[in-house]
């Protein structure tokens, strides 16, 4: 199985690599030192199995999982943690594989055997769903957004993004000067971002209220938002959402 090791500690990675040497069916194809590197590696290498540390700089393990495409190529996951009671409870409840630091070789071989069996199974979708569910529940708030442009991926804090827009089935994020695509659905973003900052202007647009330059009345009782990007992009607010916007911004 092509596997990727994700851990911010060099010693932890080297130890895991050494322990995995006892399992010839696992082929370690790479390592990542933080969350963003992990996302890039996953997309570049398409591993079948992740050894994923949760506490990492940049993106946590859960955020990594929420940032990668949820498709048939999504790898199986073996979580690794030092001590995190809440995460452990979630893994137990959802029958997911996890390893505790310092990693015990017996536990590792059990997890590997389980992953191997799952890998051979016809459909890995239920397992993937459970992994994503735990990731979403364990860390509901998105602190960083993985933004991609061609083969490049950057981390942007949400307050630097002016709006997210669904275009042709892809969610695009707009910073002051650039446009990226992201791997989150608008619903996922709306749930994970602070509700007092991000506002669903229309079904397909989520705007950052802090980055609006101007609000103009529009047809009927709608609004036109002029954004603070270089082009001063205009975004219309649907009639239904305009009511909510009035509640949100007193005196509008």
């Amino acid at each position: 199985m092509r596997s990727l090791i994700v851990d911010d500690e060099e010693s932890a990675r080297s130890r895991l690599r050494r322990l995995l040497a006892a399992h010839p069916e696992i082929e370690v194809i790479g390592e990542a030192r933080d969350g963003l590197e992990a996302v890039r590696q996953i997309e570049a290498l398409r591993p079948a199995l992740l050894f994923l540390d949760i506490e990492m700089p940049g993106l946590t393990g859960f955020e990594v999982l929420r940032a990668i495409p949820n498709d048939a190529n999504m790898p199986l996951v073996i979580f690794i943690t030092g001590y995190d009671e809440h995460a452990l409870a979630a893994f137990e409840a959802n029958a997911l594989a996890y390893l505790l630091k310092p990693i015990e070789p017996e536990r590792l071989s059990q997890a590997v055997t389980r992953a191997h069996a799952l890998h051979a199974a016809v459909d890995g979708a239920p397992e993937r769903e459970r992994v994503l569910k735990v990731a979403r529940e364990s860390q509901p708030v998105l602190r960083q957004i993985v933004c991609r442009k061609r083969d490049r991926a950057v981390l942007l804090p949400p307050d630097q993004i002016l709006w997210f827009r669904m275009e042709g089935g892809i969610v695009k994020a707009r910073s002051a000067s650039d446009t990226f695509w992201v791997n989150h659905s608008l619903t996922d973003l709306e749930a994970g971002l602070p509700p007092d900052v991000f506002f669903r202007a229309r079904r397909e647009v989520l705007v950052n209220l802090a980055r609006i330059k101007e609000i103009r009345p529009y047809f009927k009782s709608g609004f036109l938002l002029v954004m603070a990007d270089n082009e001063a992009t205009e975004i219309t607010v649907s009639e239904r959402q305009a009511k909510l916007l009035r509640q949100r911004i007193p005196g509008l």
Partner: protein, 664 residues
């Protein structure tokens, strides 16, 4: 019927004049007192209107007699206007007195023929009283010429006949004996008076005997009538009246004895055996001795008499033992719900009430009499609209129970048939019952508050203990331990020497934590040393990614600080400041003095404060924990502040008063 000499034999004034005058004066005082008290009680329940009429009749009799006698004494002509008016007044009183007494009896004559008999007697009494009164008035104005003596006889005999008839027939066997026998006694006394009068009028004794018989007979009857009256016509101030009435009566009696003694000791008898000056001296000394004895005995006799009368007339409840029993019962109660039945029993049983209820007092529920809210006893007329809102509609007396400085409950009392009117003594008892109930309520409330306070304190102690435990667990996050062990597990194979160093540092870290868990203060030096060790482990774990700088002013190294006060801040900085930031991070820990203030800082160049990031919240929690500990130790003299750092990142500043510790 008094002193016949008033018209006719002018010798009259004789030896009984003074005694009679005193007796009438006493009578006026007593009846006046009675009238005032009945008028005052008129508004209160349990006071029949008949009481006032009775007092008025008795006053007429006494005042008329006194007026006539006084006029006689001051040498006004016989049958002058004042004498005639007084005479008429006196006998109008005598003629009308059966009306109120019959009215009082009427309450007990409730079945069939007795009821109609009482009605007939009442009507007859009114007609005869009116007729006699009219005749008396006409006679006194000289329009009619009827014999004075026959007028007097007519008034006296008609009253006697009515009273004897009423007393014989109206009260039944089932009437309370306290009413039945006095009624009979009163009828008998009235009958007796008439006989005396007849004897005096027809047997024609000498003038002295006649005067004596008249004075004695009339006043004895008045006395008997008065006391018999109280037995069945109780009213609120009856006990007060008996107390003061007895005193007035006693004074009158003693004065009479004394004046009689002065006049009646026959000086001639003394002079027959002694020389005149010696006889006079003896006589005088005897009188003075008597006067002194009477004066000395007055208080005792008065006290004894009023107590005996009170007991005999009102059968006062044994309030003292009832109060003692109530106090004992109440002290055994520890639940407010159980107070009411005990208090109700304590009020009801001794006073033989028909009902007593203790109910919570709600100021808002209805319009209460103003006095009640201020804690005064309120008595209700039968027509009072308050009856409808009360839980006990027949309640006559509302006694407020005061606890916690305000009226909290009401004791409602409804008098029973045995004591139709509650006298002052009974009210005092009810007041005492209410007082005891109120103080028990107060005591129970205080007890409950004390228990509440105790349990709150216990809860607080438990919370503090838990918070301390929590704080201790937060000192070193378990994550740190397991990650360090994981690192060591790797180093053991790759780099045994570094593994050894790491193990030693880990041991040092935990030794410091364990040692300081039980004591609250350490020195800056020790704390910084601990942080160095702790962060050295972290530096190994994060190798190139973590740089730690220390900036400690040597001057403050010996200062006392709460142990492990910086560690949570450092851990926070690592986790939330540096943790999420990819690439290398810097941690700066400083300690310096600013006058009497010690300033400790933990700075990082990590993610910084952002209102939209959860880091702020977690960071806030760490800061809140530290702030809590500082507050416990220094109250408001210490503080912790969270600021953005210039050039990015976060700065946490702890300020506390400088304090040297003796190095252990």
């Amino acid at each position: 019927m008094l002193v016949d000499g008033l018209h006719g034999h002018s010798i009259a004034i004789g030896s009984f004049f003074t005694g009679t005058l005193i007796a009438f004066m006493t009578g006026v005082l007593i009846t006046l007192l009675l009238l005032i008290l009945t008028l005052r009680a008129a508004r209160l329940p349990g006071t029949p209107f008949a009481n006032i009429l009775f007092a008025l009749c008795a006053l007429c009799w006494s005042a008329g007699g006194l007026g006539r006698l006084a006029a006689l004494g001051s040498d006004v002509p016989h049958w002058s206007t004042i004498v005639r008016i007084s005479w008429a007044l006196q006998y109008i009183g005598a003629a009308a007195i059966p009306i109120p007494i019959l009215a009082c009896w009427r309450r007990y004559a409730v079945d069939g023929w007795r009821e109609s008999a009482s009605r007939i007697l009442g009507i007859v009494a009114m007609i005869s009283a009116a007729a006699i009164s009219a005749t008396l008035i006409f006679r006194s104005t000289g329009l009619l010429d009827i014999g004075v003596a026959s007028m007097e006889h007519a008034a006296t005999f008609s009253s006697t006949v009515l009273l004897v008839l009423g007393g014989a027939f109206l009260p039944r066997r089932s009437t309370p004996s306290s009413v039945y026998y006095p009624s009979l006694a009163m009828a008998a006394a009235a009958f007796g008076t008439s006989v005396v009068l007849l004897v005096r009028g027809h047997a024609a004794p000498d003038a002295g005997q006649a005067a004596f018989l008249g004075a004695l007979g009339s006043h004895l009857v008045l006395l008997i009538a008065l006391f018999a009256f109280f037995l069945f016509a109780r009213f609120r101030y009856a006990d007060i009246f008996v107390r003061y009435g007895t005193r007035i009566l006693l004074v009158g009696l003693l004065t009479s004895i004394l004046t009689s003694a002065l006049r009646e000791i026959r000086i001639e008898q003394l002079t027959s055996t002694h020389a005149p000056p010696a006889a006079f001296t003896l006589h005088l000394s005897g009188v003075v001795l008597l006067a002194n004895m009477l004066l000395l005995s007055f208080t005792f006799v008065d006290d004894f008499l009023s107590r005996q009368l009170n007991r005999w007339l009102f059968r006062p409840a044994d309030t003292r033992s009832s109060a003692r029993k109530l106090a004992a019962d109440l002290s055994a109660i520890h639940n407010e719900m159980e107070i009411a039945p005990v208090v109700e029993d304590a009020a009801r049983v001794p006073l033989e009430l028909s009902g007593a209820r203790l109910v919570p007092f709600d100021k808002e529920v209805t319009i209460w009499p103003a006095g009640l809210i201020e804690g005064e006893i309120v008595e209700l007329n039968p027509s009072d609209s308050l009856h409808r809102t009360l839980p006990m509609p027949n309640a006559e007396v509302l006694v407020p129970v005061t606890s916690d400085g305000r009226v909290s409950h009401l004791l409602l009392a409804a008098p029973g048939p045995a004591r139709p009117g509650l006298v002052q003594h009974d009210l005092n008892f009810l007041r005492m019952v209410a007082l005891q109930a109120g103080s028990r309520f107060d005591m129970l409330r205080r007890e409950r508050e004390a228990i509440d306070r105790e349990s709150r304190e216990a809860l607080l102690r438990q919370q503090i203990a838990e918070a301390e435990l929590q704080a201790l667990r937060a000192q070193i996050h378990p994550h740190f331990l397991f990650n360090s062990l994981n690192t060591i597990a790797d180093l053991v194979v790759r780099d045994p020497l570094r593994a050894e160093t790491m193990t030693l540092r880990l041991a040092a870290t935990f030794r410091h934590v364990l040692r300081n868990a039980s004591r609250s203060l350490t020195t800056v030096r020790e704390e910084i040393e601990f942080l160095r060790t702790y962060l050295a482990i972290e530096e190994v774990r994060f190798s190139d990614r973590l740089t730690v700088e220390f900036d400690v002013d040597p001057e403050v190294e010996g200062d006392a600080i709460p142990s492990l006060i910086l560690q949570p801040l450092v851990e926070n900085a690592m986790k939330h400041g540096l943790g999420p930031k990819p690439g290398p991070g810097r941690l700066i820990i400083s300690a310096k003095a600013d006058g009497p203030i010690l300033i400790l800082r933990v700075e990082d160049d990590g993610m910084g404060l952002s209102t939209s990031s959860p880091a702020a919240h977690s960071n806030g929690m760490g800061v809140a924990n530290v702030a809590g500990r500082l507050r416990t130790l220094y109250h408001d003299q210490a503080g912790v502040a969270l600021d953005p750092r210039e050039g990015g990142g976060t700065r946490v500043t702890v300020t506390l008063p400088r304090n040297k510790v003796e190095k252990a």
